[in-house]
Symmetry: C2
Subunit: 203 residues, 2 copies
């Protein structure tokens, strides 16, 4: 059953890379956990580096494919940003372990593969940057800061989700996405105007 | 020079745990990089686990000590949240490598130490929760969502900072802190009221 074996190898490697880190996981660990001889791994994959790259690429691709149509839609920027956040959270909810490997273990890739992942990550960041910049240009967003800070704030918020979100927990994927989008779009104080320089008020 | 050696061991271990992960770093790697015999490490530390715990504890403690006075101040919640974000970003800027180890490698600690770190992390999250909840209770924050989501949004944003911030880059620590605080407090659209359910407007 070669195809099933390949799927099993990816599944086991994703778990081991996530649980014990890529550098600490040997091909022997993977073959033992899959239940095949070490040599049999190589009929499916060329090596540990190629395995990590495939896993990271498949993870990041899920995010790119989910957010690309949203980023390119003709909706106003706030609607698009809300939809992009929802698309991201939906991918997290369905791929927590894959996401943790794709977002943290890619750093252990060697130069060429590392560069390819950085390009994919930059393409993902660019989708959010275009939405935010478009929102600023059209006056939908009133932030006075460079778009980059808002994008990094949003991506940080999103990249943290796999650390705390449980698809079986109290909050649904939709609720989480809505709450996070509201923080970014409306802020905690909206519709009260920004409070910079205001004197502390008595409570 | 026993005290200098201890400092050097912590510095080298922090770099190696960050660069190649804790599980993949051996005591031999550390002693080689420090330039002492493996046996000499044990006159300073009891083992690799104790070394990681010390590093993580010292990292998380910096954050707790920086934000605690802010969290307990009598200022209104928005002023306190802004100050807490600034305090956090200041600690990041001065401790990027330590922060990456403290926030990512702690997961490899064994049960008792892991539990102690989780308690410290929860205490840190609680400081932000008290600020946000107080903001909601006093009407300073108008968010309709559970305080937890706002806190997790803020912490995600903050935990992502060491991934992109360079203390030698164009933006100062103060600018970064201000921009992030503005995203959370005012949102991208403020002072425009929240846009939920609004029809897309033409541009």
């Amino acid at each position: 059953m070669p195809r099933e074996s390949a799927a099993k190898i990816y599944e086991v490697a994703t778990r081991l890379f996530g649980d014990q880190s890529y550098p600490a996981t040997s091909m022997r660990d993977i073959s033992q956990a899959v239940g095949i001889l070490p040599g049999s791994l190589y009929s499916h994959i060329s090596g540990k580096e190629a395995l990590l790259f495939s896993i990271v690429e498949s993870g990041v691709t899920k995010y790119l494919e989910a957010v690309a149509p949203v980023a390119e839609s003709p909706e106003p920027a706030d609607v698009r940003l809300r939809a992009a956040i929802a698309a991201h959270v939906t991918v997290v909810a369905e791929n927590i372990q894959l996401t943790l490997v794709a977002f943290h273990q890619w750093k252990y890739l060697e130069d060429a593969n590392r560069r390819r992942v950085i390009d994919m990550r930059n393409a993902y960041e660019d989708m959010f940057t275009r939405i935010v910049q478009d929102g600023i240009d059209t006056g939908v967003f009133t932030t006075t800061h460079d778009a980059r800070f808002s994008v990094l704030a949003v991506l940080g918020m999103l990249n943290w989700v796999p650390e705390w979100f449980s698809p079986n927990g109290k909050a649904s994927t939709e609720e989480v996405a809505e709450a996070l989008a509201d923080v970014v779009l409306s802020g905690l104080m909206s519709p009260v105007p920004a409070a910079k320089g205001r004197k502390p008020r008595s409570r």
